[in-house]
Symmetry: C2
Subunit: 295 residues, 2 copies
């Protein structure tokens, strides 16, 4: 197998890992060169500038994420669900034949409205490898959280939840933001729990978000606790819509602090958690490289 | 009965009506002097400046809205629900004895989180008079919509829904806003309906809002239709949480265009609409004045 340059090229950041023939991560690099910072036609130049020194004549480079979107390096058509690891490996979009390829995202259309992901599919397949799972329910929390159902190693269903973005909108731009402290106060686990519980028992964030105002008005929560309470409200709203059953297990793929918050919230539903960190993308891209070397 | 100066003093605007002893509206005035524009201690001066010419020695002035909040002229303690017209009339906060009074808002605490209104209670009691109703379900759509249950002329339940504000946040500040047209395109009734239907069938705005992105991505809706679609999503989300039954009737209190949108959305649930316009506040304040003159 060839040396692998694995890239996760997102909207706002560009991360890379140099991976040896055994799959070990030799070096990692993270740059503020997301696709929004790259002018049309400049992707090859930015690539050379950021990672040219890691490319040898033998290297293979695999890229996941928004680099395959309409605004990216080159559009890689979505792979329709259900889709397995082999499907995305077979539909790579080569930008330089045999050397640099973009992994396609996934799309799904269950009748209501279509949904899409780019990059998360690679993390999911990497996580399945790391955990040795063939069937799983996974969540990738974030600005636009993804909930993913895997059956027999194929992604059979997924959906997007604008949880992180709604938090930021309410935190920064809403009329309620005036009641909130300016900086980021220390997380308040009790206030977070209170938000989760209120969301789980209620109908809609349209209504529960207003309780930030009234709890402050009646001095039932100090201003410093409101950001944690809001975080509980939005995460609780996300969870209550997932038809989770007590005793179920969910794979949570996020950094430590966000994973811990999801674990705390999921405990209210009797759901246990397996955590996977950020190395899942490298694992997923390495697995695709292995598939190519066997082909 | 004395001549009445009726004021609706809200967060961002100040509206007034001069009402004769028979309840007829003689003049109306609307100013951009909401309570946020008034420095502490300056309320009497702003009042004199804006409406002093309408006050005679015989006049009574009644004020509803945010003028009674902590940031207003003088705080008028919330009247706890259930509350009837007589309760708020009995708890006026006089800022000038016998001449100028602020109508208290209402609070409710059903266990989850408290909720409050200021000003809407006066509109509701005015609407009940205009329509001759003792029992009703009412909605006052807006930045923070209020749903109100009236039984035997008492407000027994109400809740706040941040529908208008979520629309504005998503329209102006979200990542999706980039896909939206800059101005305000003409309303698109079909796109609005599509949003309502999608929301009514779905779990949460956290998820349905993402469909703005995908419908644009797959060119299933033109950019000009997306604001109407988003309006349908947020209003549909509000409606699906109200446990409405086919055949029910709801009183909608809003301007013509917003009322029409709610009527269109409620039709999907088989719910009919009675409309009441903005004169309900004057009717409500006039009714309180009548109560005082009888006391």
């Amino acid at each position: 197998m060839r040396p692998l340059l694995a890239l996760d090229w997102g909207t706002s950041s560009l991360r890379g890992a140099l991976i040896d023939t055994n799959g070990a991560v030799l070096q990692e690099r993270s740059l503020a060169r997301g696709i929004l910072s790259v002018a049309p036609g400049q992707f090859p130049a930015v690539f050379d500038e950021c990672f040219g020194d890691w490319m040898t004549p033998q290297s293979l480079c695999l890229i996941s994420g928004m680099a395959g979107s309409q605004q990216g390096w080159r559009e890689a058509a979505y792979c329709p669900c259900p889709a397995g690891f082999d499907d995305i490996a077979a539909q790579l979009q080569w930008v330089e034949a045999g050397r640099i390829a973009i992994v396609p995202g996934l799309s799904i259309d269950t009748g209501g409205a279509p949904d899409v992901m780019r990059g998360e599919e690679t993390q999911v397949f990497g996580a399945l490898q790391l955990l040795g799972l063939s069937d799983a329910k996974l969540v990738l929390p974030g600005t636009h959280s993804k909930w993913v159902r895997v059956e027999q190693r194929r992604i059979t269903d997924f959906s997007s939840w604008m949880t992180g973005e709604f938090y930021a909108l309410l935190r920064q731009h809403s009329l309620l933001a005036r009641s909130l402290p300016e900086g980021e106060p220390a997380p308040d686990a009790d206030a977070f729990d209170q938000g989760v519980v209120h969301a789980l028992r209620s109908q809609s964030l349209l209504n529960t978000a207003f309780s930030m105002r009234t709890l402050a008005l009646f001095k039932r929560l100090p201003a410093e606790a409101l950001p944690s309470y809001l975080s509980g409200l939005v995460i609780g709203e996300e969870l209550k819509s997932q038809a989770l059953q007590p005793g179920e297990s969910v794979v949570v793929m996020a950094n430590d602090s966000l994973s811990a918050r999801y674990q705390q919230a999921l405990a209210h539903l009797g759901v246990s958690v397996q955590r996977v960190g950020s190395n899942a993308t490298w694992q997923g891209l390495h697995a695709i490289a292995q598939t190519l070397s066997r082909a």
